[in-house]
Symmetry: C2
Subunit: 203 residues, 2 copies
């Protein structure tokens, strides 16, 4: 009897986390309370509060859960990426897609709120540091870049900073046409640089 | 008698706009009301409401005023930038500095709010489009890039998207040490690409 009950509890929890991201991305920080998320998820307020007594617990758990599932999906889907020509653009495109999706838009709401809320900031900073390390490692792996090479390490970082900037440019209007051109151009430039065409800064 | 009164009125207006940016950047969207800004600026609530009847008027006027003064300052200071070696890094560094300053942090609060507020979004989108065009034109001018060349045009855009991403990475913690490395590496790569070392995407 215990198994099905645990499964139901886990399904409820997951549903709440997904609704949280959806609510943050579309309704914003102010509207994303435990009650609103519970209603959106079709879960009673009591059940939601049993899982997440405080709004901050719900929100950080949602960011972490969704981040882990997006990264797992990116790793799984990577078997379908081209090898050789076109791989760099496919990988850059995939990471940029991640930074323009609902999880980024939800995270943006949390960052904006945390900028003016010290307690929230202290919860979010270590989470962001972890996300940053994992995204970097996944990108290095997919690109097959040599992370021990300072130039390659910084170019991968720059690619992710560029992706974050492209994500921000997509928040208020559909920037996909311009973005495709930027991804294409940067991939050509990055590819040439990773092949050793560009020296390390300062050398 | 008219001149001094107009001057006082203009000084009051400017003081309100500067306080708005400061308040948005440090206290966030929710706390930035006409009353709070008026108090911060040492202006009576009545005088503030005479200049800006609605919060949205105050906030969009502040973004526009501060953007125009930052761009004017960047253009003026450009006479001090190195010519030849080191210019690209100096220009990239200058633009990245703009995207990590208080105006960017204030704008981030407005973008996050506008993502969940259609009326605000409609006011902010045309303003952002104008800002984007001007920042692009200033960067092209300072880099001496050939904007008619598709690769150069896209690489300048990518540089500003990177700067926006670096701005976002600096919102919750001081990212300046990492950022300096990224700016250095990006500048080397951009410089090589603008010198014609990299082909146009798709060719």
């Amino acid at each position: 009897m215990r198994e099905p009950k645990q499964d139901r509890s886990r399904a409820t929890r997951q549903h709440l986390l997904e609704s949280t991201i959806d609510c943050l991305a579309t309704q914003g920080w102010g509207a994303t309370t435990v009650s609103v998320v519970a209603e959106r998820a079709g879960v009673s307020r009591g059940a939601a509060q049993h899982h997440f007594p405080m709004r901050e617990d719900l929100i950080t758990a949602a960011l972490e859960f969704m981040f882990d599932s997006r990264m797992a999906a990116i790793r799984e889907e990577a078997v379908g990426l081209p090898v050789g020509a076109g791989r760099t653009e496919a990988v850059v495109g995939r990471m940029v897609e991640y930074f323009t999706g609902p999880l980024f838009k939800a995270a943006l709401q949390v960052w904006a709120a945390a900028a003016a809320d010290e307690a929230l900031r202290q919860r979010v900073v270590p989470l962001e540091a972890k996300f940053g390390r994992v995204v970097h490692a996944v990108t290095v792996e997919l690109l097959g870049a040599d992370d021990a090479d300072p130039a390659a390490h910084r170019l991968v970082q720059a690619t992710l900073d560029l992706a974050r900037g492209l994500g921000l440019a997509d928040v208020l209007s559909d920037d996909s046409a311009r973005r495709a051109q930027i991804v294409g151009q940067w991939s050509v430039t990055l590819d040439a640089a990773l092949q050793g065409g560009v020296r390390v800064a300062g050398e």
